[in-house]
């Protein structure tokens, strides 16, 4: 057992921290208020290697491990979880899926520009009828011989507008149920794709979310990922790895809220002494620290399992559920510690609280994670 980080891991953590605290902080409030996509930052972070962290350098990536990825996402999310989620989707859903299951041609054509950050990717699973239930796909992909025709609507798609490459999950053989589902690489500018309006979200407002409509969209056969019917398994494997990304994001949000609370408690005075000297506040901070440390350990454990090619289904679900739930608790307490200041935008913690809420919802709600964990324990 060894809890020490390597020099490289520490350097990546520091690089992410430096970028976040030097650059992301500058316009994070404005981007949140106006819902502006961080175009400039995504380009800079791509140049630094953050868009394809775990992809082999041969395919344009940085060749890092998942531990480094957790550390980087935590640091970015402390300041700006919106930018972090754009990166998380590109890394742990899109690049991960192509890197692991794509053909050599698919990798050359799509993974290289995605991992090097020249283009951004999106993952299209959720539908209006059901959130993250991948077995119920109303979107259809009809096999036409040398190509497929896709029809249907996808909802809550992060990066929908900024992405150039979509990974789309759709039903080809409804009679085979989830074994009839396929995954496709679809170029966003294909004829027949239209976007719904920009969703006016409560938080993560700097990331662009839309619904995406497919109307007779033609996709060449070579853009199917894996064998016919592999789509459901593909989506499940990607989601379980992706949970580590969202868990790390939630961890960063919580850590950011705690750091701001600590600084505030040391400065702000009430009844003749600093908040830090009031036990009611000091204990709140202790509670935050313990929860955050637990969440961090769960994230790093799941990352370690993944790096060592061990099963991560339960570990990543635990990490995501716990980190997201404590992020909500910690940010709520952070607003409380800040009092009136916590309720105004300038002090950041209200934004962190709004951002925390989404980590309990997307890429599988906390309830879905509990289903995953409990099913594993209760199975016959």
């Amino acid at each position: 057992m060894n809890f020490e980080l390597t020099e490289e891991q520490l350097m990546i953590k520091e690089a992410a921290r430096d970028y976040a605290q030097r650059e992301l902080i500058q316009d994070v409030l404005e981007r949140d208020e106006k819902g502006i996509f961080p175009t400039k930052h995504i380009k800079n972070l791509a140049d630094l290697g953050f868009m394809g962290m775990m992809v082999d350098p041969e395919y344009g990536g940085s060749g890092m491990d998942t531990i480094s990825y957790v550390l980087a996402l935590e640091e970015l999310s402390k300041i700006d979880a919106s930018t972090a989620v754009i990166i998380s989707i590109n890394n742990s859903l899109v690049c991960y899926g192509l890197n692991r299951f794509g053909t050599e041609e698919q990798k050359r054509k799509y993974l290289v520009p995605l991992a090097s950050g020249q283009i951004i990717g999106a993952f299209l699973l959720s539908e209006p009828e059901a959130g993250s239930d991948a077995s119920q796909q109303h979107t259809t992909a009809v096999d036409m011989g040398d190509h497929y025709i896709i029809n249907g609507t996808k909802n809550w798609i992060s990066n929908a507008n900024s992405a150039s490459t979509y990974l789309v999950i759709a039903q080809t053989n409804p009679e085979k149920k989830h074994k009839g589902i396929n995954a496709f690489i679809v170029e966003k500018d294909s004829p027949g794709i239209t976007l719904g309006p920009h969703e006016d979200k409560m938080g993560m407002r700097s990331s662009d979310t839309h619904s995406v409509m497919f109307s007779d969209v033609k996709v060449p056969k070579e853009n199917r990922i894996g064998e016919d019917g592999f789509g459901f398994k593909f989506a499940m494997m990607i989601l379980e790895a992706g949970r580590i990304g969202i868990a790390s994001q939630a961890l960063g949000i919580a850590q950011g809220a705690m750091e701001r609370s600590v600084a505030y408690a040391k400065e702000r005075k009430a009844f003749g002494k600093t908040l830090a000297k009031h036990q009611a506040i000091a204990f709140k901070i202790a509670d935050m620290a313990v929860k955050i440390e637990n969440a961090r350990n769960l994230c790093l454990k799941a990352a370690w399992l993944k790096d060592n090619h061990m099963p991560i289904t339960v570990a990543s679900a635990m990490a995501k559920q716990y980190a997201a739930d404590i992020a909500m608790e910690v940010t709520t307490e952070a607003v409380q510690i800040h009092g009136g200041y916590g309720y105004v935008k300038e002090y950041h913690v209200e934004r962190l609280m709004r951002e925390a809420k989404l980590t309990q919802i997307y890429e599988g709600t906390s309830e879905v994670q509990k289903i995953v964990v409990s099913r594993d324990l209760l199975k016959d």
Binding site: E7, M11, I12, Y19, R22, G49, M53, S62, G63
Partner: protein
């Protein structure tokens, strides 16, 4: 052309300064070490010069014990080609400059930060220039190459100048030399371990200064507050009480 960038390993600039051993030594417990901010800017400028063409190699060097290698590897991650660590504690500026003078002879341009943010010596660059019998320019806020000459912006007391100086040269740099320190890209971080970090034995040299002890500034009295609506009162206080107006 070859550039040598001198690197000091210093406590993070937000470190709370404490001393141990009856105030005779800096308390390094829990301290995060960083590249001295001016050295980091110097390295960034060296990288920019290399990318503009005409620089064959950038070496970073420091005098320090093994613990300082993390700082050198960060410099390699940022983009230096190789690193030299002279294996000795950095006793004082003259000791450090004497050590560096043994490895610095092959370089056309040596970049040193104006000072290290810990002991504020303002010394190593100038001493090294004297030991090597090179010219030096201090308070440098810009440097470019023009054939075999360096074109330098330097701050003087009461203004600034543009100079031409021939090498070999020690340029002692400050704010302005590069806009912001460069963040290492992941490619660079991965390559850092593969780049040479040569450990060199220290030579005999005597330090000429030593720290007897340290003191923290006396605690400040509480801030006297004046009401916003009555700000003029402040001028009266500064005039009559503090007697600084």
């Amino acid at each position: 052309m070859k550039i040598l960038v001198l690197i000091s390993n210093v406590p993070d600039t937000t470190t709370k300064i404490r001393f141990t051993g009856d105030n005779t030594a800096f308390d390094a417990a829990g301290v995060q070490w960083i590249i001295n901010p001016w050295d980091e800017l110097a390295l960034t400028r060296a990288m920019e010069l290399k990318e503009a063409g005409g620089v064959e190699k950038i070496t970073v060097a420091n005098v320090g014990e093994k613990i300082t290698e993390a700082t050198l590897r960060k410099a390699l991650a940022v983009g230096a080609d190789d690193a030299i660590r002279i294996d000795a504690p950095a006793k004082d500026a003259f000791f450090v400059a004497s050590q560096l003078s043994k490895i610095a002879g092959d370089y056309d341009l040596i970049l040193a930060g104006i000072e290290a943010s810990d002991y504020n010596g303002n010394a190593v660059g100038g001493m090294l220039a004297e030991l090597l019998d090179y010219n030096s320019v201090s308070a440098v806020s810009g440097i470019n190459m023009d054939g075999d000459k360096f074109v330098i912006n330097r701050e003087i007391d009461g203004g600034s100048q543009v100079l031409s100086v021939t090498g070999p040269l020690v340029a002692i740099v400050q704010k302005g030399i590069a806009k912001e320190p460069r963040i290492p890209a992941m490619r660079g971080i991965m390559m850092a371990r593969k780049k040479p970090l040569n450990v060199v034995e220290a030579v005999d040299a005597h330090e000429k200064t030593s720290f007897v002890n340290f003191e923290l500034p006396p605690p400040k009295a509480a801030c006297k507050m004046v009401d916003e609506e009555n700000a003029k009162e402040l001028i009266t206080l500064l005039h009559e009480e503090a007697k600084v107006l």
